[in-house]
């Protein structure tokens, strides 16, 4: 895959595009999104490996307005964001050459660390297995162990709106991504409160979740705007922790494609995707199945209605499972 993507990157560069891709880092896993403008740079630094999990569609907001064409390599879930951003008029599609890249699931260094691997200096992809080099010697682990949560419950391998594809077109999958939400819904309110207090109290308001989120592309966020009444730089009280995450999830409700970037980047490992997925699950159940970014036409559920929508009291009536 690496070689095909790299060859395509060179081809596109030579056809006059800037190329948005990943640049190799110190280690095998710390790749950084970068824009390539020369063949030498690509040949030297361009990587496409199982750690290229970052959703690059958000960069296209700025890149598509920079003049000229930019080529991007988008994984299936990135293409949902790509299309959702077009729907919100944020990306100038005509300036983007989108190459869809089929994805076997992306790895996450935190997943390896959580599995107890320390001092990891390298890894070799061996199909189902991963040979991990550490400061204290090599260890072979299942590749699935290194997969990030979002990839374990992948919702779709479908590449949307691409100018060309590398790898096979995929299908929407039957995903178990709501299992954890259901588990929480089944708890008592007290248990849920305790769970979320435990999680959200770790928040340091670094805004990584917001800044990485393709749906969070406001010119000025309410949480940065002193006039909004919600601005702050730190979670100065437990209320502010709740406020930030409730409002953030609410603002992306109906627009969140469930790309999972928020949880990937959270330095405190708060399962933020569980907030977004709650909204997605509710929307699917209350207003009919909806996948943000799946098309350009359907009205997002929060700017739409049906005359016979359920009443808000459904939250109480049907217990914790609306």
């Amino acid at each position: 895959m690496q070689e095909r993507v790299k060859a395509k990157a060179i081809e596109l560069l030579e056809s006059g595009c800037r190329v948005l891709g990943w640049k190799a880092g110190e280690f095998f896993y710390d790749v950084t999104p970068a824009v390539f403008t020369s063949r030498e740079e690509i040949e030297r630094d361009f990587v496409f490996n199982p750690f290229c999990g970052a959703n690059q569609s958000k960069y296209l907001i700025a890149e598509s307005r920079r003049g000229g064409r930019v080529a991007a390599f988008l994984k299936p879930c990135d293409t949902y964001s790509f299309q959702q951003l077009q729907k919100e008029h944020r990306i100038l599609r005509e300036n983007v050459y989108a190459v869809g890249v089929q994805c076997p699931g992306m790895c996450d260094m935190d997943a390896l660390r959580a599995a107890g691997l320390r001092g990891v200096t390298g890894a070799e992809d061996r199909g189902e297995k991963l040979l991990v080099h550490t400061l204290r010697g090599d260890r072979e682990v299942d590749r699935s162990l290194a997969l990030s949560e979002r990839c374990r419950v992948c919702k779709s391998k479908k590449l949307l709106d691409c100018d060309e594809m590398i790898g096979q077109q995929g299908e929407e999958l039957v995903s178990t991504r709501f299992t954890e939400v259901e588990r929480l819904e089944a708890m008592t309110p007290e248990e849920r409160f305790a769970f979320w207090r435990g999680e959200l109290s770790r928040c340091i308001r670094c805004n990584a979740c917001r800044n990485v989120c393709p749906a969070c592309s406001c010119e000025k966020c309410v949480f940065d705007n002193p006039a909004s009444g919600a601005e702050n730089k730190a979670p100065a009280s437990s209320f502010e922790e709740n406020l930030f995450h409730i409002i953030r999830a609410f603002h992306v409700a109906g627009r969140c494609t469930d790309c999972g970037e928020c949880s990937r980047v959270c330095p405190q490992h708060i399962p933020l995707h569980l907030l977004n997925r709650k909204f997605i699950k509710d929307i699917n159940q209350l207003y009919g199945p909806y996948q943000a970014g799946a098309d350009l036409e359907t009205r997002p559920p929060l700017v739409d209605f049906q005359q016979d929508d359920p009443e808000p009291s459904i939250v109480g009536e049907r217990g914790t499972n609306p």
Binding site: T32, I204, C206, K233, A236, P267, Q268
Partner: protein, 334 residues
């Protein structure tokens, strides 16, 4: 040097916690944090905490004063959080060095009395490293992870905890504790530190004297281009020290507090005339210039980085001080 069987660690913690509040690193890798000790709380398996130990002296949010408003009357009420004696156990060499860096900022004239109060009440017990992460590069900054500073230095080896007091405050702590016996720690195998991939980072391109060259380096543009502008690096960093002062209107008055700020934020040092660092490039540059150029310029060449590697692990896009050092160091080569 004192020693104690590791099996009695809980008893030791209980003894410390009897008289003062005790914080130990606890929790899982990735989210471990300094946590007030309570019965049953275990030391983390992780090398280090997700957030640094600076939180205990320079918390993310700290009350400064209250203003009470009654009708048209305003009353100022002193409302600093009371500083009580505490022990901070398990600080790694890198974090311990960060206290020196912060001290040089907060304890010089004018003294930051909020920081000072906490510093005076805190006893730091450091813990030597044995299992470094690949992201560690304290050794490249002249720090010995196997012999950290602090009021007391601790080692864990062969079933024992070894403790050495380095300061009067450390002596005082150790002398107040039961269960300790005399003992000498065995020699530590340091070979793993020689294998660290970042051990020989070259910092020669940095320092106060290279200010304008580094400031105007063309590399900043490509280094900063994918920066998301979040505050992760600054908030997990043990040496980042910028804060903002904010007023919170409670309805019945105003609470004035300070909280960490991040130079990565678009409203960092925002002035009425606008943002002095208008794009992410300038803001990004500020962070690294501060650590590698401005701080050494003001503090006899000492870098504002301790090589803890947190930013390497936590940056959402894997941009970090090492990549900056490499890119600019490359440029500085003749």
């Amino acid at each position: 040097m004192k020693k104690l069987p590791l099996s009695q660690l809980d008893a030791l913690f209980a003894a410390i916690a009897e008289k003062r509040r005790l914080y130990i690193p606890a929790g899982e890798a990735g989210t471990a944090s300094f946590t007030p000790w309570r019965e049953g709380l275990k030391l983390t398996d992780a090398l280090n905490t997700a957030r640094s130990a600076k939180d205990l002296f320079f918390p993310q949010v700290e009350n400064l004063a209250d203003f009470k408003v009654t009708g048209k009357q305003i009353q100022v009420i002193e409302n600093r959080d009371p500083a009580e004696p505490f022990v901070l156990f398990g600080v790694r060499a890198c974090d311990c060095r960060s206290f020196d860096i912060l001290d040089k900022v907060f304890l010089c004239d004018p003294v930051d009395t909020y920081y000072q109060a906490r510093r005076e009440q805190g006893t730091v017990v450091t813990l030597a490293c044995t299992e470094p992460e690949e992201t560690c590069f304290c050794t490249a900054l002249g720090i010995d992870p196997t012999d950290p500073a602090g009021d007391v230095t601790a080692w864990m080896a062969e079933g024992f905890l070894y403790l050495r007091a380095n300061t009067a405050r450390g002596e005082e702590l150790l002398s107040s504790l039961p269960l300790l016996e005399e003992g000498e720690k065995p020699e530590q195998d340091r070979s793993v530190f020689e294998k660290l991939p970042l051990r020989d980072l070259d910092w020669s391109a940095f320092g106060g004297e290279r200010m304008m060259e580094r400031f105007n380096a063309p590399q900043w543009a490509s280094l900063a281009e994918s920066c998301l502008g979040c505050g992760t690096c600054t908030f997990v960093c043990p040496t980042c020290q910028c804060y903002d002062i904010k007023d919170f209107n409670t309805g019945g008055g105003v609470k004035r507090y300070r909280c960490w700020d991040s130079c990565m934020y678009s409203d960092f040092t925002l002035m009425s005339a606008g943002q002095p660092r208008p794009t992410q490039l300038e803001r990004f540059r500020q962070r690294f210039m501060h650590k590698l150029v401005y701080y050494p310029a003001n503090h006899e060449g000492e870098f504002g980085c301790v090589g803890c590697g947190r930013c390497l692990q936590k940056c959402p896009i894997s941009m970090n001080i090492v990549k900056v050092a490499r890119a600019l160091g490359e440029e500085a080569k003749p």
